[in-house]
Symmetry: C2
Subunit: 322 residues, 2 copies
Amino acid sequence: MTNKMNLPNFDSISQAHDRIKPFIHKTPVLESSYLNNLLECSIYFKCENFQKVGAFKFRGALNAVLSNEKDTLKKGVTTHSSGNHAQALALAANLSGTKATIIMPQDASKSKIEAVKAYGADIIFCEPNLISREETCQKFIDKSGALFIHPYNDHSVISGQGTTAKEFIEEVPYMEMIVTPVGGGGLLSGTAIAAKSMTPSIRVFAGEPYGAGDACRSFYAGQLIQITNPNTIADGLRTSLGTITFSIIIQIVDSILTASDETIIAAMRLIWERMKIVVEPSAAVPLAAIMENKDIFKNKKVGVILSGGNADLDNLPWIKKT
Amino acid sequence: MTNKMNLPNFDSISQAHDRIKPFIHKTPVLESSYLNNLLECSIYFKCENFQKVGAFKFRGALNAVLSNEKDTLKKGVTTHSSGNHAQALALAANLSGTKATIIMPQDASKSKIEAVKAYGADIIFCEPNLISREETCQKFIDKSGALFIHPYNDHSVISGQGTTAKEFIEEVPYMEMIVTPVGGGGLLSGTAIAAKSMTPSIRVFAGEPYGAGDACRSFYAGQLIQITNPNTIADGLRTSLGTITFSIIIQIVDSILTASDETIIAAMRLIWERMKIVVEPSAAVPLAAIMENKDIFKNKKVGVILSGGNADLDNLPWIKKT
C-alpha cells in the first residue's frame, strides 16, 4: 500500500524544497525584449540550465536520495537515463556519501557521459531503447542490491522537480501560464501540482517534440500510449510518460502542444543568440511550442522553464560538420 | 585646449553612469566552482555579454551620444568598428533619435552585420585594416558632416566603459585584481581609472591575444607601437591602442598578459560548457590569460569582465565545418 505521505502534493513539494535548498542554486529568471516583441507576450524564463549539473533534474534526484535513510543507501543507488538524471543522481549520491551506478544508452552525448564520470559514478552502457535500459538496470540491481531511483515515475522525484515551479511562482507570482518540456513527465507533473496549488487560475502547458509525441497522444486518448521509435533532436525527451506522471498530468494539466524539430532548433538558436545563454535542445521545446501556437499565448504573462544546458558543443544542430 | 571636465576620471565615470543608467542593464556577476577549483583562485565574472547589444560597448557609445547637444547630432553619427561598437552606436543613435552610419570591415561576422542593420543604421563596408577603415570613414564625414564617435580613443567613450568596473566593484568590493581584454584600450583604461579610484590597492591586468600583442609591446616599450597584421580568433581585439588610451594604460595598469589563440578557444569553450553562457572569443581572453599565468592569480579574488556575447553561432572555433 502506498504511503499517503509520499504522494506528490504541495506539502511534499514544500518539504522537498526545505530538504534540498541548502544544496541547489536558486536559478535566475531572465527576460528578452526581443522575444517578447517577436511573440507578442511577456515570457519569463526560469534558468535551470544554471542549476547544478546543468539541469532541473538535480532537484528530483537529490530529494529522492535525501528522503532515504543512510542504511537504505549503503548498497548504492542506480538508474537508467539518457543524460541529465544520470548526472543528477551521480552528484546527489556523491553529496550523500553513497555510490551511484548509471545505465546509459550508447548514444548519450559525450559531454553528459564525461560529466557523470566526473561526479564519481560508474557507467554501464546499454542499447538506446527503453527495454534495453530497463533490462540492463534490473540485472545490475539483482546483482548489487542497489536502490533504484527512477528518472521520473517516482513520488519523491516528482516532488523535487516541483520545487522549480514553486521557486519560479514565488518570484513571478503574476504569471498566467506556465510551460515545461515533457518527456517522462516528472517536471510537468511536479510543475502542475505546484502551480495549480499556488495559483489556481494558472494554465499549465507542456511542449513536446512532434517526433516523440506520446504524452500528447496519451493525454488526448485518455490512456497511456508508449512511444516505440522516438525521432527528435531533443534527446532528453525521447522517453514515454510513466503511470504516476500520466495519472497526474491527465487530471490537472491544461494542454500538451507539439513542435517540429525545425522549430525546436530555431527556438534553441534564438535563445543562444538573443539571451546569450546555452540551453540544450529539450530546453527549447516550450519556446518552440509557443512559436507554433502564438495565438494561445498572445498578450499573456507566460513562465517557461528552461530545463537544462547540457548541449553537446561539438554537435550543434545548425552546423554541418566535416 | 582640452576641456578638463571631459578628461576621463572617476568623476566623469560617475557622471556617465548617472547619464546611461536608465538605458543599460545592470549585468549580473556569476561564479563557477569548477573554474575556481581548476585555477585555484576565486573568479567573479561581470557578464557584459548580457548587456544591451550584447557587449559593454553600449555603455561608451551611449555616453558619447548623450553627452552631445541635439544640434550637434542632427547630421547623424558615424564610426568604424569591427562589430560591437557598431551595434552599440547604432542603438545609441536610435534611442537618441539620430541616424548612425557605420563603416565595417568586409570580414565582420554575419551576426554583427545583421544586428547593426536591425538597429536601423546604414553600413558602408571597407577593407579589413585600420587604414581603409579610417579613410572610408573620413570620406563619409567629409560628405555628410556626421559626428565621428571613435570606438575607444575618446574621453566620453572611455568614461562610459569605466562604468562597467564601477558597477562591478560596487557589487564585489573585496576583489583584489581585475582583468579585462584589451584591443583599442577603451575598456581597459576606463576600468583602470574606476578600479584604482575605488580600491587603490587593486591590481589591474589586461589579457591580449598573442597574435595581436601591440598593447603588451607598447606597454613594455614605453611607446605606442601600432599593429599591422593582427592574427587572432578574437576579432574584437585586432585594433591598436589609441594615444589617449595608451597614455592612461601606461600610467596606471599593472600588467598586460598575452594568451595564445589555442588557450583563448579553450577558455571560451570552458565558459560555454561550465557556465552555460555564450561569450565571443574576445571575451574569453582574460580567462585565457589567467590560465596561462596561474601563479599570478593563485588564491586571489579576481574580477573578470566578460566583454561580449556576439559569437557567430555558425562559426564556432572548435567545430570543423563542411
